[in-house]
Amino acid sequence: MAVYMLRAPNAFDKSPRFLSKPVTIGIFTFLFFMLLGVFILWQRYQILKETEQREMTNLIGFIENNIDHTLRNSYSAALSLALLVESNGTISGFEDVAPRLISEYPAINAVQMVPGGIITHVYPVQENESVLNYNILEDPNVREEALHAMRERKMYFAGPLELRQGGLAVIGRLPVFIKNDFWGFAAVIIKLETLLEESGLEKLSADKYEFQFSKIHPGTGEEIFFLTPISAGSVEYSETINFADGDWKAYIALKNPRELFNSLIPIGFFTTLLSVFLGLAMTNLLKQPQKLQALVNSQAGELTLSEMKFRTIFNQAAIGMARVNSITGMFLETNNRFQQLFGYTSEEIKELSVVDVTHPGDIQEDHSKMKQLRDGEIKEFSMQKRIKRKNGELVWVNLTVSPLWNEGERPTTHIALIEDIHDKKMAETHLKESYHMVMEQNKRLLNFSYIVSHNLRSHSSNIESILDLYKHTADAEERENYINMLEKVSAALNQTLFDLNEVVSIQTNLNLTVEDLKVKDFVEDTLGLLKVQIQKKNARISTNVPAEMVVKFNAAYLESVLLNLLTNALRYSSPQRSPEIVINGKKTGEKWLLEVEDNGIGIDLVKNRNKLFGLYKTFSNHTNSRGVGLFIAKNQIDAMGGRIEVESTPGEGSVFKVYFQ
């Protein structure tokens, strides 16, 4: 029997240690992807931020350019005004130049000439009349800035400040010197409103950006804001421009600096989800081998258990089991019961093949069934056969053979199950014999009952008829005749009853004394009894019965059988020749055989074989034939467990053979 012992595979044992901690790996996976995501997001954020910054730098550059442009225009305009100052300090042609400047530079709202700090000329006059003759150097609000321009000897933009004529404006003052002596200022007034408009600030998206415009107070150094204050958080995302000519600062800031960050939140969220998913997936993936390992372990456990169970069944089974090579018939593996049945040890039996231990009479059937099995014609087979034990005993077994190869595969080995059915088989044989015997006996008894009724009825009907005839006749002579007939019938009836009695005694005597009998002695006694007949017939008798011929038989039966056979041999002799009778005793195998051979008239066995030993069956016209002798002889031999046979040729003679048990 194959031992399919599965070892738990070691491959997994050698796996890296960390593989046994899928959760840890899962967490690492999650963190890795999370970090990667964050890194990418950060990069993206940086790029976006740079873009934003660049955009803001561009914007502020654009604004700076615009303001610069306005300031340069203002400077040109102021320079043009300054050129109006004659070397003697008078102003000529202001009325012509001023309107042209105003129309040429739309950013400029007004121009002034301020000799010695007093505003003497202004254009357009109408809105600005109120400032005429105003001494700026005496106004503490503007004096510092005016002096700053004077000190620096270059144009300086003051303000934004509240104009006396109303509105916020910046005032660019160009100090004018005549031969190094301060003359006064050429001033240009630009309304803050106009400046901002010219800067292009207001054209920019108000949704996205916030702006501020401030001035560092030249005196106090304090920063003064002119627009709505920017929210505190925005300062971080701001760009600043410094205008040295006026100590101004312009700010641009993102209205909603968190928007950038917020725009990345969905992606961040998605990245997190993805990382979590990948982490879980990795954990699950790494758990697979563990699950498989667990499955393998549990299967291996079950297999070991079932192997153990099988081993136990195999070894403890009450049925002999063997695994046999299907080609050579050699025994490969046997269980205890098998060895016990055959009487060989496990080692001895491995040297033997099926043929060695099978009764020759059963090899053919076994062979042909094995061939059918190998050829796939049958799936398994059972047969009853005799096996030879080591001590030579024959044991009846029931053999069941099942192949261990799959359908379509080449035959390899098979399982042979051997069940000891010897006692059963013997009992069966015995039962069959008994059944046969009982059936035979029953048949004989039935037959016997017919014979009895027939014979008795034939006599009774004769008596009835004779009495009837007797009654209907008055003739004395005839009546006496009938009485004589009745006597004869009575005698015949007597004989019949005697015969029947003899038959019944055999049929009923089941527990007869059986002893060892020396046949030679019985033959001699019988020949002594028949001495007269032998002499009368002039018969020659030769006897070849060995002294050691001893049979188990009932003495009275043996006498009766011998008497019947010898009487028949003498009685049915041929009229043409004197009788020659040969009596032989010999051994056939284990059993003794007695032959009685004659050269008499013989029997036509073709016609009469079935009737020969029947009751009241006669085959000749011989007057002494009653059809009882052979019937009784056969019954006596049968009752002793032997059998009788006959060989005969009509006209030449017969041989009766008695086989003793």
Partner: protein, 128 residues
């Protein structure tokens, strides 16, 4: 009108009885008896000879029984059925014998022993 009868039976006493019964019945003026079937067959199988009007045949006889006699007789006399009437007369009570007798076309009837004068008359009057 003369009628003949033939009796085949191994029982000597029975033969004597039947002869008396035949005489009493007064139908047959010719009676022939055979003590076994061999002798009867030897006499009756000659196709040239005339068969008796009635044959009373026993079944259980030594050597050749009634059945064998019938089949042997048929060999030489294929028209047996038209030439004579055969009655099986036996003391056997085996149903098999009765059934077998009636299944043979040449057999006209079955008589259980004892044969009586009246039964013989009945049969005799029924003859052609």
């Amino acid at each position: 009108m003369s009628k003949s009868i033939c009796i085949i039976d191994d029982d000597y006493i029975y033969q004597i009885i039947v002869k008396k019964i035949v005489a009493k019945a007064g139908i047959f003026n010719k009676v022939e008896c055979f003590e076994n079937a061999f002798k009867a067959l030897k006499e009756l199988q000659d196709p040239e000879s005339k068969l008796p009007d009635l044959i009373l045949l026993d079944i259980n006889m030594p050597g050749m029984d009634g059945w064998e006699f019938l089949s042997e007789l048929k060999v030489n006399r294929p028209n047996l059925h038209h030439e004579t009437q055969i009655y099986i007369v036996t003391s056997s009570i085996a149903m098999g014998d009765r059934d077998k007798a009636l299944s043979i076309s040449e057999v006209s009837g079955f008589i259980s022993k004892p044969l009586t004068v009246s039964r013989l008359r009945e049969i005799g009057e029924g003859l052609g």
